[in-house]
Subunit: 365 residues, 2 copies
Amino acid sequence: MATNSTETTIHDIARRLNVSSTTVWRAINGRQRVSPQTRQLILDEVERTGYRPSLVAQNLSSGRTQTLGVVVPTVANPVYAALVRAVEQAAFDRGYSIILCDTDFNRAREQQYLDLIERRRVEGVLLIPFAKGMASKNTQLSRLVRAGVKVVCMQQRLPTNEAPQVAPDNVGAARAMTRHLIGLGHRRIAFLHAGMPPWHLSMCERHEGYRLALEEADLPENPRLVVEAGSFESMVYDDEGEFFADRVEDLLRGRMRPTAVFAPADVLAIKAMSVIRSLGMRTPDDVAVAGFDDIHMSAYTTPPLTTVRHPTAAVGKRAAELLFASLDASASSTGNSESCPIERVPCELVIRCSCGARRAQVIPT
Amino acid sequence: MATNSTETTIHDIARRLNVSSTTVWRAINGRQRVSPQTRQLILDEVERTGYRPSLVAQNLSSGRTQTLGVVVPTVANPVYAALVRAVEQAAFDRGYSIILCDTDFNRAREQQYLDLIERRRVEGVLLIPFAKGMASKNTQLSRLVRAGVKVVCMQQRLPTNEAPQVAPDNVGAARAMTRHLIGLGHRRIAFLHAGMPPWHLSMCERHEGYRLALEEADLPENPRLVVEAGSFESMVYDDEGEFFADRVEDLLRGRMRPTAVFAPADVLAIKAMSVIRSLGMRTPDDVAVAGFDDIHMSAYTTPPLTTVRHPTAAVGKRAAELLFASLDASASSTGNSESCPIERVPCELVIRCSCGARRAQVIPT
DNA sequence: GTAAATTGCGTAACCGGTTACGCATCCGCA
DNA sequence: TGCGGATGCGTAACCGGTTACGCAATTTAC
């Protein structure tokens, strides 16, 4: 029962003009023949009353909601925000709306959202899967997939392989960056691991790239240079920021002092530079720093940050394309592919001063 | 015509159990009496089939969509992202979903989104009104308001006073920060204006606060110290970043060289510090820098940025509260308040090193 | 023992837009 | 004059959940 009084319906217009609502529909949608006079009469009335067809009703009768769910740990993270943005643009171009679901790194909330999304009958879901306790089975997600809702993961893999994924080439890019550092003469390169496996798989992939590059160069990986610097959430919320600072300080004060630090996220790298400065050391003279993501601010830090350019726009766009392709396929045929490929988007190295470069430079990997 | 095959409805369940769909409804919603046996039979079947009621159908029949539209210029801006987050949390707590509309600073897109939002029959809209050409009448917004959709503005005022607004106390906070700079002995304080009036009213308000503080201290405002440093969009997208850098460089190289720079947004302040460094000057020794917003990164810049803490969480939360209050009122009575108050949320000064402080300090305004 | 109230459940209509079907009416053409 | 087809429009049912109404069966009350 509509509480709003001022909502004009197709039936109101029909009644006022003594025609059937079907005729009004035809006049508005121009799909079937209506006499020019009747059409004009109806369009005038539509104009006069400011009638807008209800998408709620259209959705119900068409069985299509033209809506996607976008589930992310937090839009406060600039990388996730960029992904959301890219996805949103792609959806808008296809006439789809985005329901934003910010899970706040919270597993229960994620599950609640996935349930809500299912009840809202969204056509597809774009997911950055990341929440405490992710290792266990994602019941709601499995439900969704079984219910025929298309799901594509971005940025971060799903431990269970239930949905196709689009992500940056974390291993390749981290390897290239580590190679770059080795090429600059660094032999003691630290890695600031944030996020325990298997929660944050992309961090693990970047770690893998780091490891591979060391191996290639016959440099044994030194466990004392791999710092478990706290959970990823702590980067975004300051609460545990102290823990991170303490770990980095331990690293820099220890006997195995690195000449370079590779932080697998710019937010971490920037915080690391802040710690370095607070210890009276200088970047890059005493310690070189490299990041990952190339968030907007990284070009303006002191010194500007050498980093990996995370192709957020490309990842988001590609994920949306994959999702729409999947929707189109299931609309036309019984497209039951069941394959869940992982697509990798290449990254670039952005060489700036934090590793000693004089001029900024962009290198494809 | 539903294309999905696997969608269980309340009628399917009813048919399978030889009861009416009304009975199924009653068993699920527990609002009217059903015999224990029938209830159990139905609940078992619901469980077995994994039935989830369609919110699309519920929305149509109830006339309430439990959905809000959130319209922002871009989630790439950390301040807007923080507002979206706060709003999203508040909405989630009330069982509402958020449709995210990123207008990309684009007027036409904003209008398209507002139209889409109206057709989707959202119950309310939270808007950060800001798009090129905003000075002209916002036709779609007026439509919405007339159609009875509740609108609350955040962060930024609407030139036409059509909706209540929640915003930080820009004037008061900018005044307090300018006072602080004056108190430190600065006499030539520059203001980096970004965004021509009347597009970016909050920038203008901050400018007003700056002006008031100067006036109080009997310091005449020097037009050469007020730099029109490009549009706000240029801060977020790098395209015109050069223009900003050039203007700041002109300022610092000019004969009226300031001893302090007040940038009415942290992203601007951070870029300004980057320019200062590139000119071989130092912050705060040669030029002090103050920002506005206290984005997450500002605590980790070199040097850490003195800034105004923008109460994004409070603003977003309050805006959502106002919107819900308005929805509740129109549901119960004919609540036709027609008043569009502007609510101001107080800010704090966050004193860090970029203005010469030794210890970080937070001061209420 | 009968009236009244309660319980359990079905029917039908509604929310607003969409669509299959069918029936007049009108036109062209032979 | 008659036939085929196009034109213009209305009827009714449907999408899936909700709800007013009412009826029969059972329980309670006096």
